[in-house]
Amino acid sequence: MTATEPVRSGDTYDAIETWSPAQLADWQLERVRHVVAGAAGNGFYAGHWREADVDPRRLQSWEDFRRLPLTSKQTLVAAGESWTARGGNVAFSTRGTSGEPLVVWLDAAESETFIVPTMRGYWWAGFRPGQTALMQSPAWHRLAAMEGHAVLRLGGNAAYYWGSGGPQYAGYFMDALERVRPQFVTTTAPFLVSLLRRFEDDVIDARAMFDSVRSIVAVGLPLTGQLRAHLSDRLGSEVFERSGTQEGAAADECAMHTAPHIHADVCHLEVLAPDGSPAPAGARGRLVVTKLHDTGDPVIRYDTGDIAERFDEPCGCGRTLPRLKIYGRPESSVNIAERRITAYDVRTCVDADPELVGRQVLLVRDGNDGDVLNVAIEGTEHNAAAIERRIHDQLGVERVSFTWLGRARMAWGFRQVVDKSEVQER
């Protein structure tokens, strides 16, 4: 049986979902050997591996694979055309939140490869033939480009609201929601939060607005459990987290909502400890991506800079695909007393209070206070002592300072760390 042969019994989309860990590891190792052999002819990788004195032709085991040196955005940007063949027709740029954007090219073969996991993820989230999905534009992200294809191949219809992901487009989204009456919505988590605020400001019944919608797929930011539950409750629709990167990582949540399952037919995802060894399941580390098909630009042991965690224990849904949560990037985290604190971690402590869930939370970078966590929270002060206690207990941070941003509403965006001067200016 091939990995992507559709089964569609019950809630399962295809065969790979229930492969044993050993079966998956063997299959992925074959794919890895194939893509590494293919990339040996790529000018960048050939040089990169030669410099590190590893011979890709001798790759027999996962240990051999892990001897391949990592690549990074900086090295790929610098490698330019020696890395990217630009064989593809369409390019997407990463957001460049950490300096230079990386441009990745997509070709038809790679598009086909990645449409399959998109169909799988949509299936898990409840998309079924005959339904309509209302989505963000196909051109904003490489993974978004696959979504329309997935929807039509699953026998549904695709609809797009006008504009982009910023809160200023909420009105266009609402207009499209009323016109199209979709059963399924895909958009970013920050956009969903902006919508809730808009509903509050304009005294709109959120559940009535979403009454045709059964499932919402949220991308772009990791959801805290509380935020997911809050969005599901307020919108009356089950919210699923979808995560991935322009460089090839792809994962979707099942109905257990424990953490997204990795689409292991297209990507091999490693989480590495600071010394470069595999981080044990349940421990955080750096997310490293390898694409498993020799289509598009080769991505082999690419260090995304993301902070992630793998969960290897069986999921209640019965799928054996490993799960992975991406918590954020270095630029969405701060170091406090040599401990890396992500905005997600702090949101977890803030969202625990039902009065606060969904409020914008920013980490404030202040060069002077190496051991003080500066947190800016939208709205008026509420239970600061309790938040501080949770930050202390859960994150091990001794000193916290709060800035309450009052009624000044901010666009909930992808940036989660700001400089002190930016908060003072508001």
């Binding site: 038809a108 196909p138 051109a139 609201y161 504009g163 982009s164 499209a176």
Partner: protein
């Protein structure tokens, strides 16, 4: 008019456009025709700084849209790079231009000033990058353009109106059989959902262009101000 079932819907600020199988290919063919009049060559690398919900973006390639069998990239053997038109993405453009060296940069008129200012602050004068042509996408109510050597494309979203400014005659072309001008209002003859539009300061030109003799020609802007 489409008789087949709608499979794809794009909502726009003042309406919606529904597409059945085959419809997107018709409009991709038209967009390629527009590009040919503007002077976009085969094999070009085209950067599109517009919202992804604009046909200038989503008709870029079959990889972006289901049912589209050949988009601009496939028809022109071109490469498309999608750049969103929101302010946080505009700041990335100078670096993307440096990395990708596009031949053409297509930009919405309402963000042009922001893009040029931001780029020049980043040390890149987009109006003077060797080999790069700027195509400004005018809406029905576009702001005056900054000074510069721009090619122009009139695009009214909910009308599915795409009318290029011809490099030969200098006028905008309303393609024969696709649009019709009646008393200052442009009607889409092909797409049933498209609403008529009346671009500001449209002046019909009673001439013909040898490139497309059946087309209706017009200019935009007041005569004394030139085509702005």
């Amino acid at each position: 008019m489409s008789v087949a079932a709608t499979r794809i819907t794009f909502a726009s600020p003042d309406g919606e456009l529904n597409f059945a199988d085959g419809d997107l290919d018709r409009w991709a063919e038209h967009l390629v025709w527009c590009y040919s009049l503007i002077g976009v060559a085969e094999g070009s690398t085209i950067a599109v700084q517009d919202f992804g919900t604009s046909p200038l973006a989503y008709l870029g390639s079959k990889l972006l849209m289901p049912t589209l069998t050949a988009g601009v990239a496939e028809r022109l053997d071109a490469r498309i790079i999608c750049l969103d038109a929101s302010p946080d993405r505009i700041v990335l453009t100078p670096e993307v231009v440096r990395q990708v060296t596009p031949d053409v940069l297509i930009v919405r008129a309402d963000i042009l000033a922001l893009l040029l200012d931001g780029s020049s602050r980043a040390g890149v004068d987009l109006t003077a990058v060797p080999g790069l042509s700027l195509v400004v996408v005018l809406g029905g109510e576009s702001p005056p353009l900054p000074a510069g050597d721009f090619r122009r494309l009139l695009h009214c979203e909910s009308s599915l109106l795409m009318a290029p400014q011809c490099t030969l005659c200098g006028c905008f072309h309303l393609r024969e059989g696709v649009y019709e001008l009646r008393g200052g209002t442009i009607h889409n003859l092909v797409h049933a959902d498209a609403v008529p539009c009346a671009p500001r300061d449209l002046r019909p030109i009673d001439e013909t262009c040898p490139l497309a003799p059946g087309d209706t020609l017009f200019e935009l802007g007041r005569p004394e101000g030139g085509t702005r």
